[in-house]
């Protein structure tokens, strides 16, 4: 399949999710916590996706739930890959002792299992979504620096970086203005894949009932439907939509990453070229 089409389709779905999160108050017919109809009503014109056991509109809750899900995923990836990029570039550019220290630090970080640790923290401290995102990024995202470091290692050896040094540029401006732009494609792909995995992790926390209880998220919606026996009772409109939404958004992010990978892997690009010729 053409990777460009896959990429665009994924991006379109992601944009849709962002718009839904941003304009939730304007799209939704009811407030998410409002008891707007009879409990467990089937989907109808009044309630597009029916209502839950408290008579809350599931469509409205689904749209509002986009916010928390996206915030956790993207904040986590932003912090994780952001720090990963900084340490990866410093380690790869300076090499030697600096590289050794940073690489060993990342190795240690990689041995820490992110999700179980996050479970313990969340259960003990019941943090908000921003803190959850931050923790995910710090514990589970910094090791993105490993791959970035190895790319920077080879970038630092290039002739044009030597040229920059011959011109008297400072290390900082070489790293920011010459190495970073060259490593950016890799950084973006890493960002997308981490956003996907952190989003799923956030939904997982909500499903286990230890996410941020003050916000609506898809994991909690599934948890509530599941524990109320939605499966056994055949209340598909209650448990289906949040589950489907997570799946679609996760696939969309995977599609974006898949499409971007082409830019990074010359072998894939080459194959496409041959087809074109």
């Amino acid at each position: 399949m053409d990777r460009a089409i896959v990429f665009r389709a994924g991006l379109a779905i992601l944009m849709l999710a962002f718009l839904a999160a941003l304009f939730a108050p304007f799209i939704t017919p009811y407030a998410p916590d409002e008891f707007s109809g009879p409990p467990l009503a089937r989907p109808s014109a009044d309630h597009l996706l029916g209502t839950n056991d408290l008579g809350q509109d599931i469509f409205s809750r689904l749209i509002y739930g986009t916010q928390a899900t996206l915030i956790i995923g993207f904040l986590g990836a932003f912090i994780g890959v952001g720090i990963g990029t900084a340490v990866g570039i410093v380690a790869g550019y300076y090499g030697g002792r600096t590289d050794e220290v940073i690489s060993r630090f990342i190795d240690v970080l990689m041995t820490i299992p992110t999700f179980p640790l996050l479970l313990v923290f969340s259960a003990l401290l019941s943090p908000g979504i921003y803190v959850i995102g931050l923790m995910m990024g710090v514990i589970g995202g910094i090791h993105s620096g490993r791959v970035i470091r190895s790319q920077v290692l080879s970038l630092a050896e290039t002739n044009y970086i030597l040229g920059c040094r011959a011109l008297g540029l400072s290390d900082l401006s070489i790293m920011l203005r010459h190495i970073l732009p060259n490593a950016l494609p890799l950084i973006i792909v890493k960002f997308v894949f981490f956003a996907q995995s952190f989003m799923l992790m956030g939904v997982g926390l909500g499903f286990l009932g230890i996410g941020d209880a003050t916000v609506i998220d898809w994991g909690q919606m599934i948890n509530r439907a599941y524990s109320s026996g939605a499966f056994a009772l055949g209340l598909w409109w209650w448990i289906g939509p949040p589950g489907l939404a997570v799946t679609v958004l996760s696939i969309a992010l995977a599609m974006i990453g898949f499409g971007l990978e082409e830019q990074l892997n010359p072998r894939i690009r080459h194959r496409n070229l041959e087809v074109a010729v």
């Binding site: 002739n159 044009y160 040229g163 011109l167 008297g168 010459h178 732009p181």
Partner: protein
Amino acid sequence: MNTTCPEGLTVRHLQVSFRSGEETVRAVNSVDLWVKPGEKMGLIGETGCGKTVLGMAIMRLLQPDTLIDGEIIHNGVPLLEISDEKMRRMRGGKIAMILQNSVTSLNPVVTVGRQIAEAIELHRSLTGRAARDEAIRLLGEVGIPDPEKRFECYPHEFSGGMNERVMIAMALAGDPSFLIADEPTTGLDTAVKNRIIALLQDISRERSMLFITHDLAAAAQVCDRIAVMYCGEIVECGTASEVLSAPLHPYTRGLLGSLPQNGLHPIPGMSPSLISVPPGCRFCDRCERRDERCTREHPKLTEVHTGQYVRCFFHD
């Protein structure tokens, strides 16, 4: 060879060696060199003789674990002794180097104009619009047609000759008084090469230059004096006309003899490894005139007559 000039560049007893595992590669050996202000000095020799390493040592661009010994003085500043930060400010500002292989020496994701403007902003008190205008002026000066439009181009949109010109423009960005040009004509066809040589002559009119090349014809056109390097040391040094018309060292004679117009007679044999150099004259294995003393004793660089030096026993 103990001449020092207070101005210009003086290199004294320079030794550069690299550690590679257990072995030490002695790339530059006790090199003495000086370039007076405004003078064009050619450094010629075959690939691997240490020309580039010498240039990089002057710029202090070699790996930090390289062993460097000796003195490099530029306008009274001891380059090997000043701090990294001071040296960084010298680079591109006082001394600039045109690196070998221009195509890979430009950042592929930054426009050529931006790369020149960056160097201008760094070394002169020009920013933004003014730096941009100066970069466009430099592009025009090095002979890029339609510089205003070319400012926005990326290196892959340029030909090899144009990239070479961009490299020269970048080196000129800080208005340095000393230029090191490392094989600027290698890999270019004859027509383009001649134009680049003309450009180099033009821009070095008020500057000193160390012109590193293995192209004797190019060196003859550009340089006032020529030093011939062989196996990490200078074997002959003198004015360009003397060295090229009346070479004293057998190696220089060999180099000239291997030119097509002189009958294309290559020098037999290979230059010795820089890891285990012979104790005597380093050229003796390939030399027709060698005698027993050459294999035993290392000749010193001696002044044969004013300004012409040679490292050979037969000119004592």
